[in-house]
Symmetry: C2
Subunit: 241 residues, 2 copies
DNA sequence: TCAAAAGTGTTCTCCCTACACCCATGG
DNA sequence: CCATGGGTGTAGGGAGAACACTTTTGA
């Protein structure tokens, strides 16, 4: 890679990193993807060795077209997960003067929503692990704070974006979807009202999967109607809770 | 200041800047504060000399506690406006690889809301000028894009924050307030419904200023109730339009 | 004197909320 | 057989939307 000590500027520059808060949902709990620092031997991993942290790393100013590309690249390198560039939503910049002990580092935090069922196999279990959002260990740097801010951003965005589409598996049940909303917003909803609200958007399509529904005990399967989903998203809908 | 060519790193670092979109309202139109580039002779102003741009500049990694402090400092230096650190709301990071012709520069855009009546005298007319948002010239770098994104962020935030409090003068009329909302959201409202909605929040207090209201032609003067405003803001209210 | 600006109150509708019962499965 | 989970509909209330008239001033 690059040689050491070669890069010189007229004025001091901070290092810039991108960090990723990757949310996944397994049908029961909201989860987040963390890595264990220190597995590799780069300079970037010498701090907080052995601790859990958000995936992320330094911007490559020659190769990364935008900071979102940094997030994408680092996530792939550190966890094996390859997401689309559009999947990375910017959360905020963290730039406290002493947030990294080595040098001045500012980080632009991103979050991404993934279908855990689709990607769990892709994540490199050697390096990365999914943690229940309720049960996250103490994290390196200011990553605890970043995670909190990302969660609250997710809670906000749920009112404007049909977040479920990105987190739920292709086929899902209404109780699962309700459970996701309850996990994110940390509240409880009335079953009937939740169902009505969701159905009013016209994004849900019943799925017939061989198994005839004998009783009501087996929940109805749904998938999202992609066309309506995209239309709603473009219009910028508003969802009350 | 710093000597040239002194700052060396193991890996290439981007330059980091903060840019400020300062919105003001004069009772008629939504305005934004711009500077003319090239008045000073710093290296930072050699590009796009003579063009209009958003105020902003390079992070001072020794002095700026956070990137918001960069925004605060640069705004003061470039326009004379001294705002509180809390007034700067982060908008987004702009990091396209060729957005600055000189070197790789990423910028964190912020916006701020000010009472134009209070600060117009503070702005250094030599360097800075208030433009109607409807009538902004073509800007340097990607500042057109930054401005568009900041506007749309303002439009979003208006649903969650009583934006008027920051933009309106101390004493104002309901038609003025409605005009502001219409200017930001680019829509028209029914006078009566707008008044009802606003009054329901209990943030408006009638102001008696000598002049007895003879007819209905002279609008009623109001001020914001700071206590209720702060309480609502803390609770995180939701405002529909 | 006429147009423009501003104040006010009511009705209707829709959506959100609260709430109860039935059915089937699995233990 | 009973507890659990899941499906369904309705009645009431509150808030937003639509809407018209009066007053005054300034041109």
């Amino acid at each position: 890679m690059a040689k050491k000590g070669q890069y010189t500027y007229e004025y001091p520059h901070p290092a810039v990193t991108a960090d990723c808060v990757v949310f996944g949902y397994d049908g029961k709990e909201l989860k987040v993807l963390l890595i264990k620092r220190g597995a590799e031997k780069e300079a970037s991993t010498t701090a907080y060795a052995g601790e859990w942290a958000l995936p992320g790393g330094f911007m490559d100013i020659d190769k990364d077209k935008t900071i979102a590309h940094t997030a994408q690249r680092e996530l792939k390198e550190e966890t094996g997960l390859k997401l689309g560039i559009k999947d990375f939503k910017e959360v905020a910049t963290f730039s406290d003067i002493k947030r990294d002990p080595r040098e001045r580092v500012i980080t632009i935090a991103h979050y991404a929503l993934v279908k855990l069922s689709d990607v769990q196999a892709d994540t490199d279990a050697e390096k990365a692990e999914w943690f229940s959002i309720e049960d996250v260990p103490s994290l390196a740097f200011d990553h605890d704070k970043i995670l909190r801010v990302a969660c609250s951003r997710l809670r906000q965005n749920i009112h404007f974006e049909p977040v479920g589409f990105e987190l739920m598996p292709e086929v899902f049940t209404l109780p699962q979807l309700q459970n996701l909303y309850e996990a994110i917003l940390e509240v409880k909803f009335d079953r009937r009202n939740f169902a009505n609200k969701m159905k009013h958007f016209g994004m849900l399509v019943e799925v017939e999967d061989g198994t005839p529904r004998h009783g009501t005990r087996t929940p109805i399967k749904y998938r999202f109607d992609k066309d309506n989903y995209d239309r709603l998203k473009a219009q910028g809908f508003q969802l009350e809770f």
